[in-house]
Amino acid sequence: MSARLVDALKRLAPQLIALAVILALNAAVSRGFFDIQFQNGRLYGSLIDVLNRGAPVAILSIGMTLVIATRGIDLSVGAVMAICGAVGASLIAGGYSLPATLAATIGIGLICGLWNGALVALLDIQPIIATLILMVAGRGIAQLVTEGVILTFNDASFIFIGSGAALGLPMPVLIWVALGIVVALLVRSTALGLLIEAVGVNRRASSLAGVDSRSLLLAVYATSGLCAAVAGIIAAADIKGADANNAGLWLELDAILAVVIGGTSLLGGRFSIIGSLIGAMIIQSVNTGILLSGFPPEFNLIIKAAIIVVILVVQSPASRSLWTFVRPERRREPRQVERVAR
């Protein structure tokens, strides 16, 4: 078990190092970055903000990881967030109970995911095109639901999901951590992980080996839709309103980026949900760091792009092999240590 843990840490080392470096940079540009106080019944500080604000992308990246592992992609998650936020807001504002609202909203997310999955698995449409349909149409659907305005609500229990706290942590943090653990355990303690990876590497060979790749693809896209629904609920609850024009806008790209930074290849196959979650936190750390730094907003995108380019270059296979070439003795050491540990 401990050997497996060491393996996992070694695999995630580049992501963890990147996160540590970004956090250190943040601390350098903003004094008190690591300060955490306890106030109003919850932990409070910039680090908590990173965890809290990163929730939507983290949650989207959970579903996105599984989709990308099957060699697919889901461009619609941002739009599905908007739809689900709009549906949730209009139901809760219309006087429905919290459980009914949540059930209906998550149901809508699942339906959106199944729609994508059906286009990909049953009609064999390329995922990028199949999900582009809902990406474009979804925001329009959301605007129909909200009738073009920011649909506000005052239900305290619904708002609690976005800005409440439990166990000293903001609800969104608890939700993404819990969802990440549940999904990661589900795929790794069952055979889903192996089957998803097999379908992603070679769908035809997997089908010939008896893998039910259609059901698997449907399930994976449905999961992505469910994650988008949860993220949409959080985003709406956070601002006590559903903003069909802006909720989840461009977040599909951040989610894809989180998955890639997390070490899952866009070519499918091997995946790591934990890696994607760390990737989401890296992205949010960059965002928060930029906001704290006080640079003029004209530099936001340039700084973000530059940091991400550096992360991706450092992680690329080419530079990894370069590293091995430059410092061969470094690579040998930990292996010997590991052997002793076993």
Binding site: S30, G32, Q39, N40, Y44, G45, S46, D49, R53, G148, V149, I150, T152, S163, A235, D238, I239, K240, G241, D243, N245, N246, A247, N287, T288, L291, L292, G294, P296, P297, E298, N300
Partner: protein, 320 residues
């Protein structure tokens, strides 16, 4: 004393308002961009109300964000022989041809809420707000509010590079010029959205000693202010008291916040562009008076003392 500083344009409107109710029987075509925002929806409903009030027969065409639809609508208005055309242009260029056609048919065209790149002989007048002035009104309020006290302001900008963001920032800074006790200490974009407004405000509070160093927030629109108010509350501070909040647009939700004492002031971007337009048209039809080429709408300041709940109820019905 509320509108303690009226611009020349606003004064002009005030004089025009007095001469209304002469346009009964006029047929006017209105080519609207679409309904992409709450403000746009409100503009449409106010235009319809204003037309009804004056007995104007309004022909409404929704272009769904497409210039070709607007050109088609204008041609159809010309063919129907309307008395005048209102145009809220979706883009600034490409209007010369169709406006020339309207001019040849001797139908006056009034532009609403946006200017275009075309010779001003092709249209009667343009009714728009002055975004720099909006920022200035907000800044002037703050200068008056804080007096001689030291005040560090944080600013939530609109989408980086957009003209409202540039102009509202400029006007605000103009108002602050010469008042060295008021400083903008942090300025960051909130993309005009609630979510970003809240997130950026959280970071401002963290970066400025838990919010203790912030005296006021200036947001380029009300939505960002609404998001920021939540962030201030969650940080354990009182918005409107610990941190003063001034923003622009005057959408209904900010009035609710003002009623709760959580926001202090907002500058109205009026959805009533049609009123001044009808007034100008009536004058022109009556005796051929050519209005100025730019009619500036009033940038009205609302504060907590303006019975925000009443304004909220009024505005709520406009489709914001």
């Amino acid at each position: 004393m509320k509108n303690w500083k009226l611009s020349a344009g606003a004064a002009l409107i005030a004089s025009l308002v007095a001469t209304s109710a002469m346009a009964a029987g006029m047929t006017v075509g209105f080519s609207q961009i679409g309904s992409e925002s709450g403000w746009r929806a409100a503009e449409t409903s106010v235009t319809k109300q204003e037309a009804e009030k004056r007995g104007v027969d309004l022909k409404f065409a929704d272009a769904q964000q497409k210039q070709e639809n607007q050109i088609k609508a204008i041609r159809s208005f010309i063919a129907q022989g309307v008395d005048a055309i209102l145009l809220a242009p979706v883009v600034a260029t490409g209007w010369d041809q169709v406006l020339q056609e309207a001019k040849e048919a001797e139908i006056p065209v009034v532009l609403l809420d946006r200017q275009i790149d075309a010779p001003d002989s092709l249209y009667l007048t343009a009714v728009t707000s002055d975004q720099v002035h909006e920022g200035k009104v907000a800044g002037d309020w703050l200068v008056k509010e804080v007096g001689d006290k030291e005040c560090n302001v944080v600013e939530l900008q609109g989408t980086t590079g957009s003209s409202p963001a540039i102009n509202r920032k400029k006007g605000f800074e103009e108002a602050l010029a010469g008042h060295d006790n008021i400083k903008i200490t942090r300025s960051q974009t909130g993309d005009f959205t609630r979510t970003k407004g809240k997130e950026v405000m959280e970071s401002f509070i963290k970066a400025e000693g838990g919010g203790k160093n912030i005296c006021a927030l200036y947001a380029h629109n009300d939505d960002m202010a609404v998001g920021a108010i939540q962030a201030i509350k969650e940080a354990g501070l009182k918005p409107g008291t610990d941190i003063k909040v001034v923003s622009i647009d005057a959408v209904p939700d900010i009035f609710q916040a003002m009623a709760n004492g959580e926001a202090n002031a907002t500058v109205e971007l009026t959805p009533n562009m049609a009123g001044p337009a009808f007034d100008a048209l009536e004058k022109f039809k009556a005796d051929g008076t050519e209005p100025k080429k730019w009619i500036q709408t009033e940038s009205k300041l609302y504060t907590q003392s303006d019975d925000p709940m009443k304004v909220y109820e009024e505005k709520k019905g406009l489709g914001y």
